[in-house]
């Protein structure tokens, strides 16, 4: 089965300095990969690079042009819009307006649909942010700390949604600290992939190699 997302010899940089290199993995339908590593090791940078927000330093990212849905730390919610208005906007952007109702139901947000986003608790906001993924209709979810500020019940809710997504032929790439209770997920520890200094053969951040 062809991979939905394939990463080959990827090196990523933050502020012009390489922080991760030799990252390799591939995700096929139904697979989930959990990225782990200490704070500041480059999880967010790696995800942003894969989502296409910044160019890689080296290596290749292979995915269909409209395969990836990205969810960052911030949920991108508008405080003065209601829950359903927020969701309808993203559904319209992705051309999937018919999915709004089911996404609200799946994330248990139906009762809150008419509330303004500013009156939600942190966990409810997070759930709304994750409901956004359901209305993108995209197969590969790239998630940065998706369970932050969620309680145990909501984590389970999210794990169920994730499982359903995988069962439908989706894939997920998740950076997280805690166990999301997804037995089938594979874990990739980023600690050994830390970029070496250029003089030790590591990838160079564009400018300083010219001095060596």
């Amino acid at each position: 089965m062809a991979a939905l997302l394939a990463i080959e010899a990827l090196a990523v940089a933050r502020g012009g300095i390489a922080i991760l290199e030799r990252v390799e993995f591939s995700l096929s339908a139904g697979q989930a990969l959990v990225l782990r590593g200490p704070n500041g090791c480059g999880k967010t940078t790696l995800l942003r690079t894969i989502a296409g927000l910044q160019p890689p330093l080296a290596g290749r990212i292979e995915a269909a042009p409209d395969a990836i849905a990205y969810a960052a730390h911030a949920d991108g919610l508008k405080a003065t819009l209601s829950v359903s208005e927020n969701l309808q906007f993203w559904a319209a952007v992705y051309g999937q307006s018919n999915r709004v109702a089911s996404a609200l139901a799946e994330m248990n947000l139906e009762a809150l649909a008419q509330r303004a986003a500013m009156s939600l608790s942190a966990g409810q906001k997070r759930r709304l942010g994750l409901a956004r993924l359901l209305v993108t209709g995209r197969p590969v979810w790239v998630l940065d700390e998706p369970t932050i500020s969620l309680d145990a019940a909501s984590v389970a809710l999210f794990a169920n949604a994730l499982r359903a997504h995988l069962a439908l032929g989706g894939a997920a790439l998740i950076a997280t600290h805690i166990d999301i209770g997804l037995a089938e997920a594979v874990t990739l520890d980023l600690t050994p992939l830390k970029a070496r200094a250029p003089q030790d053969g590591g990838a160079s951040g564009g400018f300083d190699e010219a001095f060596a």
Binding site: G15, G16, I17, I19, A197, G205, G206, F207, D208, A210, F211
Partner: protein, 242 residues
């Protein structure tokens, strides 16, 4: 052997270290010759009196103010297209020099305008365009200083330089349309050299060459500084990471 070799920071540092003393010497000789000749050994002009001596700084500085912006446009384009860091840093290094040239052109223009037109400031198209050019320099420099990440700053200032160039040209036209000025174009501008007699022309040539050489020296010195500061930043960032 291609010209792009000099876009390599190491190669640039080596070559500029070698070239700098020569350019400095040449710039000093030419500039001093031109200014001394112009200031001490030129006659009064019939219609301008001794104020004619101001052209030896006004004309070269005005030329440089425009040319430096053009040079920044070219180096910004090289950075945006070919990603040579030295090119972006040269644009950054040139901007303050361009601002100083613009200021000199404006000040000497105002000082000259006072006895000639009877007013310090006239909303003449050329003076006004230079004022606007000065604002563009200010914005460009301010944007460089506001952004921490050097590559982001280089990209954004490059785009600003591109858009700014178009609007600077447009402003020049708009201002012309808005007020047909008092500024004597033909009698003194260098492209109409037949209007300037040789007595004034030769020292003026020296001054122009002197200003160009001075600019080259300043840009080399300042680009070397920027390259070092960029290198310093990279080392510091790597140290933080380790």
């Amino acid at each position: 052997m291609s010209i792009w070799e000099y876009a390599n920071p190491k190669k640039f540092m080596q070559t500029s270290a070698w070239a700098l003393p020569w350019f400095t010497g040449l710039a000093a000789i030419t500039l001093v010759t031109g200014l001394v000749w112009g200031f001490f050994f030129t006659p009064e002009a019939a219609n301008f009196g001794t104020t004619v001596k101001i052209i030896y700084i006004h004309v070269p500085s005005a030329m440089m103010a425009i040319n430096i912006w053009v040079m920044m446009l070219v180096t910004s384009l090289i950075w945006l297209i070919r990603r040579h860091h030295v090119s972006a840093l040269a644009a950054k290094a040139a901007a303050p020099v361009g601002l100083v040239m613009t200021l000199i052109a404006l000040f000497t223009g105002a000082i000259w305008g006072q006895p000639m037109w009877g007013t310090w400031w006239e909303w003449d198209p050329r003076l006004t365009s230079f004022l606007i050019l000065g604002l563009f320099y200010l914005g460009y420099i301010a944007l460089w200083q506001a952004i921490d990440n050097p590559d982001t700053a280089a990209d954004l200032t490059g785009v600003l330089c591109l858009v700014g160039s178009v609007f600077a040209l447009l402003s020049r036209y708009a201002v012309n349309f808005w007020n047909q000025g008092l500024h004597q174009g033909a009698s003194l501008s260098v492209d109409k050299q037949e209007n300037v007699s040789d007595v004034y022309w030769y020292p003026l040539l020296f001054c122009i060459a002197g200003f160009i050489l001075l600019f080259i020296v300043l840009v080399l010195v300042r680009t070397r500084t920027e390259v070092r500061s960029r290198r310093l930043k990279a080392l510091e960032a790597r140290e933080r990471l380790a």
